[in-house]
Symmetry: C2
Subunit: 444 residues, 2 copies
């Protein structure tokens, strides 16, 4: 069977569309065909209107034919997690309480994608309110295993070649973990780099937009369109466009030095994963050094829980009032804890965060280009009743540090085993540059 | 007796010093003489080292003589509330728990004053931790009356002509209220306009730096040196220097229209003050219209209390731990309430604030140049055991709107009765322009 355009990288597809060697309609048709084929097993989509997607594709082709300047993603289909508002599709936030909810405005990231010419292919499955109760999605590598969550559909759709790019969100470990479980390249940029306006807010402190793709090139291509200031998100700042593609393609001036951080949770990592990381360390030789997590950071998991509980209880209060009995027991008990949190405890942990960020800044300034650590306890766990443990993402989410997972290894069960690289805050393009170096080093 | 330089406005004194008609040493000597004369009755100063002040004055005179460029406040003495850090004087925050505390760094505003050439004359009395328990200061117009608080010493020192300028802070009503009680011109700019780095933090949401002077000219002169970005205060933003003096001296293009807002607390205003405001309204004729406070704002007093209690409990926790038994009962019981506040209630009120700010923005855009409202329930109350009620300041503090009080009237007891004007957020110079118009209109 000949290659389907659905297998192309976004970068290659965008080039062919720009050159006239491929139309967006052909690409979207190929994606839809792939979806028809694998969706019954994978269940990645919450909403998909084929005609509406094809209409956008034809409009992109028309723009190209007209000769007017087009965006970097002209004609490229993107999947959107169903907690991210779309003006032309429902956004149900993974809860029956928002069944049929139809936002009037696009989220800032969706508006940016449309401005770049992208086709908003459809809405991908999220767990309930992007927390832990799973949706219908299965792991494309083995349908008896979880795809991870909460960005389950986006992670699975990209891995299953239904769409080259997708957006998700991370408040604990909802991008890096499903990305790793599904064998994607997934990227959670620095907190505040991508505006969250129009996205279901769980926690201003912790929420991040995340990206799914099948290569670093494609993560860079997508990231370049999404960063920037938006006055609906008070954590964004005016900044110049970051040329992710060119910066991440630069050769590091000297070979990177990487810090391997086990964290206090290493003991819980699966035996086969421990072995695989051990081999990776060996392969990297003197380019990697084990670094002990400083004591001030070891309480950070408790802080993240306090913040997540308190902020989710406040942000999701309308759902609590509208029908808490229709929320899952898991979400309800989180909110019960959050409703009891004292303001003084909440504020106390919030103000301990900056000092830990500073300690990591020093670590990077002194010696290291990136931190290498597992994205999860191992490969995607068996069973669909849970989405796996976010414990290896929580610290970097709390600190707002950029993180990327790369599908460089396999577990004993043949499922993808990711490698997480974490960078210094606001040095996101450099993190992708280091990720490229690592990928080449491992392939060599 | 001939005029003492201590009676001069800061603007006039700065001109004479620049021209060589007055030296800073003469000015500071005159202020010290005035202090020796009235301080026994007023008790405005927490710390004052005459020799250190004169040394700064001589340095300012030396700078002028050397011909090097000097700042706009070269040689002008300024009083500093004793919750604002000074590297060369103690900063005791009004509590025995900080007795003898000597900061290593100047607060950002003190550094700005020094850069402008000012003489940091001394530290002025604050209530305990800038909350409600009074210090030793008395009202210069009548020592049996409170000067108001918490910026008691700064308000009294300026009114008593001990110093032409002083700095204070406001979290509920701690600048506008004592300014009005002492017959000062006092100004609390928009939240975030003046950095609070190095100032005892009670509440990031509510804390503001405030200014005391004896004219609008002098408020403008001082404000111009203090605004700007400081990376120690996350609520400041990079912005161009605001030319307060020239902007506030412009003629309004058309005569201002002012909204008179009674607020839900008008009933509690003293009878003689009600009468005086009635006469003022009559004098302003069709330039003023009574406007009903919109219902969404009427709960704001409760919100301010929730935020102040929760944030003060968290920020002052080190004092609580170090010796809560040495705090006043009043402060301790505030902190006890704050320690019980739920994070969800705290967050809920925080997020209701922006919509009210927006409603006021609309009010200004539609029709009004400023809001006129009392700064307090009347003139300074008799007695030194309390500092008066901040109820007429609380709303504008919560909303971060700029406010100024002008000593335009007198109460039945002969004490000064202020008029508060409140402006649109970030239109501070325009508020001073309207204040000048009002002052001229009343004098006419």
């Amino acid at each position: 069977m000949s290659e389907s355009p659905a297998q192309l990288s976004a970068l290659e597809a965008a080039r062919r569309i720009a050159d006239g060697r491929l139309t967006s309609e052909e690409l979207v048709q190929a994606c839809l065909q792939r979806i028809r084929q694998v969706e019954p097993a994978v269940q990645a989509w919450q909403f998909l209107d084929e005609e509406h997607a094809l209409g956008q594709a034809r409009a992109a082709d028309e723009r190209r034919r007209s000769g007017e300047p087009v965006g970097a993603l002209n004609g490229i289909p993107v999947g959107i997690k169903d907690i991210i508002d779309t003006a032309d599709m429902p956004t149900e936030n993974g809860t029956v309480l928002h069944k049929g909810r139809t936002p009037r405005k696009d989220a800032a990231v969706v508006a940016s994608l449309r401005a770049a010419g992208a086709v908003i292919l459809g809405k991908t499955v999220t767990t309930e309110c992007a927390y832990f109760t799973p949706g219908k999605t299965r792991n494309p590598h083995n349908p008896e295993h979880t795809p991870g969550g909460s960005s389950s559909g986006s992670a699975a759709a990209v891995a299953a070649q239904m769409v080259p790019l997708a957006l998700g969100s991370q408040t604990a470990g909802s991008v890096i973990r499903p990305g790793a479980f599904c064998g994607d390249y997934a990227f959670k940029p620095t907190h505040g780099l991508i505006p969250r306006t129009g996205v279901l807010q769980l926690s201003r402190t912790l929420d991040h937009i995340g990206l799914f793709a099948r290569s670093i090139d494609d993560l860079a291509l997508l990231a370049e369109e999404l960063t920037g200031y938006d006055d609906g998100d008070p954590d964004t700042r005016p900044l110049a466009r970051i040329p992710f593609s060119s910066l991440s393609n630069e050769e590091p001036p000297i070979p990177p030095t990487i810090a391997f951080i086990k964290t206090p949770h290493w003991e819980r990592v699966d035996a086969d994963a421990k072995e695989a990381y051990g081999e990776l360390l060996e392969a990297l030789g003197d380019r990697i050094e084990e670094v002990e997590l400083f004591p001030s950071a070891s309480e950070a998991w408790d802080w993240q829980r306090t913040i997540m509980e308190a902020e989710m209880a406040a942000n999701l209060e309308p759902l609590w009032l509208a029908g808490r009995e229709r929320l899952s027991e898991r979400l309800r008990s989180l909110m019960e804890r959050g409703r009891e949190t004292r303001a003084i405890d909440y504020q106390r942990v919030l103000r301990r965060v900056p000092a830990v960020v500073e300690s990591f800044d020093e670590l990077f300034m002194e010696r290291y280009d990136a931190i290498l650590t597992p994205p999860a306890l191992g490969t995607a766990p068996k069973g669909l009743g849970a989405t796996g443990d976010p414990v290896f993402c929580v610290l970097w989410t709390l600190l707002g540090m950029p993180a990327v997972t790369l599908p460089l290894m396999q577990g004993a069960n043949g499922l993808p085993l990711g490698v997480q690289l974490v960078g210094r805050r606001n040095f996101d393009a450099r993190l992708l540059r280091t990720a490229r170096w690592l990928e080449r080093k491992v392939a060599a």
